[in-house]
């Protein structure tokens, strides 16, 4: 008896009021039941402990072509030749005594003060790179920010790119791991779903609806709950990710709804990158095993194909203790063998000339150990999320310079639940299924005029043909809700980028969306990008975005809950200044200052008659500053350190936002231990206190993760060993309103081994 809502939010979660809603109105039946834990345990005496999530990492590319790397004894000439442009410069040889001291000195000195040309001018260097070296130069572009490929420094957004190489080196297991390590992003996990938060706003009342998740540009958020699946329910196995483009800031001016705080685009590998058969397996603590088999190739005629199957199973923690349930009636607060997690997924794509056909499916079943939504604690409660789609897309460049794109797709999302409720006469099995089917079309055109002005246009249409939610007890059959809705969305956008001078460019865009529920919304954005000198980029950004109310919020009516077809979209206005500086060839720094004004947040309203309803109630403001420094070398040595200060306030009450750490610091280093074969990578993630829904502090958290990764040790073999949360911090993150637990304990130290072989 979930009352239909996967997450039934009561109490203004944004202000962080007591989540008393759990025990009134919609949860009435539960609280009257024997299953309710001893009164008061949930709210009294909450202990503080460490909080915050895991892993860290950055962008950086492996350079496989490392030419001229010969180091004759006593001379360090060959390496110098790489740094020094060959050809024009005669190779400089620095004769060294074997004396270690001077070797160390020279080694440290040379990278810092390399001879002549190296001096900071990328142009000079580029002129003198050999053809082999050119092949390892990173072409630093991003697609997601504007729906066309541009240099990262030209994008009208704050961008981080995470590559396949980094995923391997830092042992990232899911998209959640990747985001946790990314400046400005944060992840909350409640032992069922992982939720992405951006820049001080990680809500406890949705499924990541304020971040748009894309796979190869395809929208993954479903229309019922708006879920952005970043945990084990994510469709793409991390082993199939080529890169992830992560945008901080709004993207509604191009993408429409959900691109509220950020956009994440997962770009998958192609057949050429697999080039044969690839198999991978992992094994780790908590009885975790996974396997992947991938076939891929590019044929001489240009046809590129990839097919992949993945499977994963984890027994999870065998015993989880929750003091809120510490009574004999609820197994003394221990959930035994209730943390299992398993999925299987498939991904396939075929590209030929201008066409790509792509399809994917994932189904994931999770045991829910937390007794969420008032289910019977320590009973085999499970949720199953299945997500799939098939898409045909087309991209063509015309002779006159216009590039055209188009796509057609069909999507599905299914949710089912096996949950036990106790209304007083013993456990009753309840299901709370949701089923969504939708299809859509997209088209776009873009052209550069006179090398100075780029114009892009696009239009899309989405039709939710089946959008159903229901809630019923299986035996005796009792129906609590049965909702069926439709949704039609059309949108169109235009954007332009104008290079006024060589150093100054302006870009602006606007998008109009029309929903059959609330009508129209118009969202503009603008950017001024100034490069006062080589290596310096200053960006001034303004953006507006929206999140449309989803079907669950608009149409769901069940026990204790009313529908609210009058909901309006949530809106955000963002102002940002970003400065980027490149120092020499290896160092890069970023400073960002921003302000986010958020209005009309949809939260649960408690009506005088005791019923609940979603309403546009919340307003918030986040003021923040982020700074990041990054160093990268071709050998694979890379480091990145960032610090973010974020002050998030509920502007209705003037109180601090819940689940919003004020200080976040992330540090990570990857070191080539043995040439290009073995890499050691370490990340340290610090998150300061955050408040729970009952305004308890969770405490500071220091998470330390490390991975040893090797490739080329044997032909076609890659393997790695990772340890997560080495310091074994018993940290917790705030629980959402569906949980009695104010804080949810996260994993202590865990490990994972991975092996990959290519045939």
């Amino acid at each position: 008896m979930n009352f239909g809502v996967r997450k039934n939010i009561a109490g203004a979660s944004i202000g962080g009021e007591l989540r008393g809603g759990r025990c009134s109105a919609s949860n009435r039946r539960v609280c009257e039941s024997e299953n309710a834990p001893p009164a008061g345990t949930g709210h009294a005496n909450r202990s503080f402990d460490k909080t915050s999530p895991i892993h860290e990492f950055s962008r950086f590319h492996p350079t496989e072509a490392q030419p001229l790397r010969v180091t004759p004894p006593g001379h360090y000439s060959a390496d110098l030749a790489v740094m020094m442009p060959p050809r024009t410069n005669p190779r400089v040889t620095v004769p060294l005594r074997r004396g270690a001291c001077s070797a160390l000195f020279t080694a440290l000195l040379i990278p810092a003060l390399p001879p002549k040309i190296e001096a900071a001018d990328p142009d000079e260097l580029l002129k003198h790179l050999s053809i082999e070296e050119l092949g390892s130069v990173k072409v630093d572009t991003v697609y997601t920010a504007s729906k066309f490929t541009e240099k990262v420094t030209d994008a009208p957004s704050s961008v981080t790119i995470v590559t396949r190489d980094e995923i391997s080196k830092f042992g990232y297991r899911t998209l959640a791991d990747i985001l946790r390590a990314t400046r400005g992003y944060d992840v909350t996990y409640d032992r069922n779903y992982a939720y992405a938060g951006v820049r001080g706003y990680t809500s406890l009342d949705d499924f990541g609806s304020r971040v748009l998740l894309l796979v190869d540009g395809h929208r993954m958020n479903d229309p019922i709950y708006d879920t952005a699946a970043i945990g084990t329910d994510e469709l793409v196995d991390v082993g199939l990710i080529e890169r992830v483009e992560i945008i901080r800031g709004p993207g509604s001016a191009v993408y429409g709804s959900n691109a509220f705080f950020g956009v994440i685009n997962v770009i998958t590998r192609n057949g050429a990158s697999v080039n044969g058969v690839e198999s991978a397996a992992t094994g780790g603590s908590q009885g975790t095993y996974s396997g992947r088999l991938t076939l891929g190739k590019r044929l001489p005629n240009g046809l590129d194909y990839l097919f992949s199957v993945s499977t994963y199973a984890s027994a999870g923690r065998s015993n989880l203790f929750y003091k809120e349930y510490n009574s004999p009636a609820t197994n003394n607060g221990v959930a035994t063998n209730q943390d299992g997690d398993r999925y299987w997924s498939v991904l396939g794509k075929v590209s030929y000339e201008d066409f790509t056909l792509q399809a994917g499916y994932v189904t994931r079943e999770k045991n829910v150990p937390t007794g969420s939504y008032g289910t019977v604690f320590n009973a085999p409660n499970t949720t199953v999320d299945s997500r799939g789609y098939i898409e045909l897309r087309y991209a063509h460049k015309l002779d006159n310079g216009w590039s055209l794109t188009g796509k057609a797709y069909y999507d599905l999302y299914d949710f089912t639940e096996a949950a036990f409720y106790n209304y007083g006469a013993g456990p009753v099995l309840n299901d709370n299924p949701a089923r969504a089917r939708w299809w859509g079309l997209e088209t776009g055109a873009s052209k550069m005029f006179w090398n100075k002005l780029r114009l892009s246009f696009g239009a899309d249409f989405r039709d939710g043909t089946v959008l159903k939610e229901s809630d019923y007890d299986v035996n005796p059959y009792t129906s609590y809700a049965n909702v069926s809705a439709k949704q039609m969305v059309i949108g169109t956008f235009a954007e332009s980028t104008w290079d006024i001078t060589k150093s100054l460019s302006l870009s602006g865009g606007v998008r109009w969306d029309h929903y059959d529920s609330f009508g129209s919304t118009v969202n503009p954005r603008g950017a001024m990008i100034w490069k006062p000198r080589e290596g310096t980029t200053l960006k001034l950004l303004y953006g507006q975005a929206f999140r449309a109310p989803n079907i669950n919020q608009l149409d769901y009516a069940g026990t204790g809950q009313l529908a609210n077809p009058a909901l309006r979209p949530e809106t955000i206005r963002t102002y940002e200044f970003e400065a980027q500086q490149q120092w020499g060839r290896h160092w890069h720094g970023t400073l960002s200052l921003y302000r986010n004004d958020i209005s009309d947040l949809i939260t649960t309203d408690m009506l005088p008659n005791g019923l609940t309803r979603y309403d546009n109630l919340g307003n918030a403001r986040v003021l923040g500053a982020e700074t990041e420094i990054e160093g990268k070398w071709d050998s694979g040595l890379a480091l990145r350190a960032s610090y973010a200060r974020q002050n998030a306030t509920d502007t209705m009450t003037g109180m601090k936002l819940v689940n919003s750490p004020q200080n976040v610091a992330k540090l990570r280093v990857s070191v080539p231990v043995w040439s290009d074969k073995i890499f050691g990578s370490v990340e340290l993630l610090y998150t300061s206190d955050r408040l729970t829904l009952t305004h308890q502090p969770t405490g500071d958290t220091w998470l330390l993760n490390a991975t040893i990764f090797s490739r080329k040790l044997a032909r076609s073999l890659e393997c790695s060993a990772s340890v997560y949360n080495i310091l074994n911090q018993k940290y917790r993150t705030p629980g959402g309103t569906e949980h009695l637990q104010d804080m949810i304990t996260q994993d202590g130290t865990t490990f994972l081994f991975k092996i990959q072989y290519r045939f």
């Binding site: 360090y76 390496d79 020279t106 040379i110 580029l126 002129k127 310079g401 090398n451 080539p672």
Partner: protein, 192 residues
């Protein structure tokens, strides 16, 4: 006494240090050497074109003299033209000063006057390849499968880096020889 023991405890460290210093030094060196450039695609392509100019061989008749210019023509408008001019206006390839031109796809005469023709994605690759057929022109492009379609060299993205495919037979049909080094570096060698 205190001093003495403190001294002692340092010694094993020193010995260890002096042994490992050399290893640390070379590890540091390996780690810090090399380049980690992030460049615009157009400038990297321009740098490639310059290298192609140095690593291909034209029949003697293709040049008026030993010092006469090697002409790189860019078809239509493309940012690569600016990058070529910015980076390589004064460069020479095998003694020939580089000359960078913008050429029109519709003028076979203009195209054939070049030693290298770069065909941007937006241009009609097949038409241009056909119109320089038989003239000593190395045709470089960036559209999907350019080399397979009869171009001599075609850029391809590989992850975040830029590589190229080579079709030496297509180059040879125009009388241009691409060096073995160029073929070795190519991501793949295609064509018949």
């Amino acid at each position: 006494m205190v001093n003495h023991s403190a001294h002692h405890s340092h010694r094993p460290w020193r010995r260890l240090l002096s042994r490992w210093k050399g290893i640390f030094a070379s590890a540091f060196f390996t780690a810090f050497a090399g380049t980690a450039l992030a460049e615009s695609e157009a400038s990297v392509k321009a740098a490639y074109l310059f290298n192609f100019a140095k690593l291909a061989e034209w029949p003697a008749a293709a040049f008026d003299g030993a010092k006469s210019p090697l002409i790189i023509g860019v078809v239509g408008r493309d940012p690569i033209t600016e990058e070529l001019m910015r980076l390589f206006t004064r460069a020479t390839a095998n003694g020939h000063p580089l000359e960078i031109r913008r050429v029109s796809a519709s003028s076979a005469r203009e195209l054939r006057a070049c030693h290298i023709v770069f065909v941007p994605q937006s241009e009609d690759a097949d038409g241009i390849i056909a119109s320089v057929q038989g003239s000593p022109v190395l045709v470089v492009g960036e559209s999907e499968g350019f080399a397979r379609r009869g171009g001599a060299l075609g850029f391809v993205k590989q992850g975040e880096t830029l590589k190229f495919e080579a079709n030496p037979k297509a180059a040879a049909r125009n009388g241009v020889t691409v060096s073995s080094k160029l073929l070795r570096v190519a991501q793949s060698v295609v064509g018949k």
